[in-house]
């Protein structure tokens, strides 16, 4: 990956919430026609264990997380003609319906923005070192890795 990313890229790991309007506004520029945003949300119910979730805590590997996300964004820039990328991932304690992650991609043409955003999310899910623990009044449970996330990345193999 020698090609330099010359588009604006913002990657943040933070405890605070993010503002989707503010982030979308940053991605809007004269030469951009399309923005695709992904927002991940804390669910209030664990389908696999049929139990309610009171809260969720996210930890990560500072230093490596940013590096892995940068690698994914670089690959996305090499593959699609896009004009800007923002990735914000929250860590710490979150409640049901809280926002977890924002991936925003701008491009002149919408399909590039759709594909690039989808690609970044799929690889973030399998490569970026974050771990979730779900809490309710009875127990604390580390979320199991989801095999379907591995499957999801296969559609990007050329």
């Amino acid at each position: 990956m020698d090609r330099k990313i010359t588009i604006p890229v913002k990657i943040k790991i933070q405890n605070e919430d993010f503002d989707v309007s503010k982030e979308t506004k940053i991605l809007r520029e004269k030469q951009t026609g399309a923005i695709v945003n992904f927002v991940g949300v804390v669910r209030g119910f664990d389908e696999r264990n049929n139990s309610l979730i009171d809260s969720m805590t996210l930890e990560h590997y500072p230093g490596m997380t940013e590096l892995e996300i940068e690698k994914i964004v670089k690959q996305s820039c090499e593959r699609w003609n896009i004009t800007g990328v923002t990735v914000i991932h929250r860590v710490g304690k979150l409640l049901p319906s809280d926002q977890i992650v924002f991936v925003g991609v701008s491009a002149k043409h919408r399909q590039n923005a759709f594909d690039s955003c989808n690609f970044i999310m799929d690889w973030l899910k399998t490569k970026a070192p974050f771990w979730k623990v779900e809490e309710n009044k009875n127990q604390k449970k580390w979320v199991n890795y989801n095999l379907s996330d591995d499957e999801a990345t296969k559609k990007w193999v050329v």
Binding site: M64, I100, P129, W142
Partner: protein, 83 residues
């Protein structure tokens, strides 16, 4: 060398990181795991689940064959669950 642990691996081992002086006969991750397993049972209980453990050397994914030296930062963690 610094070794970092995350998620349930951190909880099982009882610490988030530790500093060790790498013995001369430990040249790769596989040998490091053997070395740690001999320290106490907490390591054994973790490393027996080898299919559930990802490894990074200097913040880059690697395999058990990856060569290591005393200046490296090693990390053991479960498959990731962010996003």
């Amino acid at each position: 060398m610094v070794i970092k642990y995350f998620s349930w691996i951190r909880e099982h081992i009882g610490k988030s990181e530790e500093f060790i002086e790498l013995p001369d006969n430990v040249k790769n991750i596989s040998e490091l795991i053997n070395y740690l397993n001999n320290l106490n049972d907490n390591y054994k209980k973790v490393f027996v689940k080898k299919d559930l453990i990802k490894i990074a050397v200097n913040r880059t994914y690697c395999s058990v064959e990856t060569k290591i030296s005393n200046n490296d930062e090693i990390a053991f963690f479960p498959p990731v669950t962010g996003g």
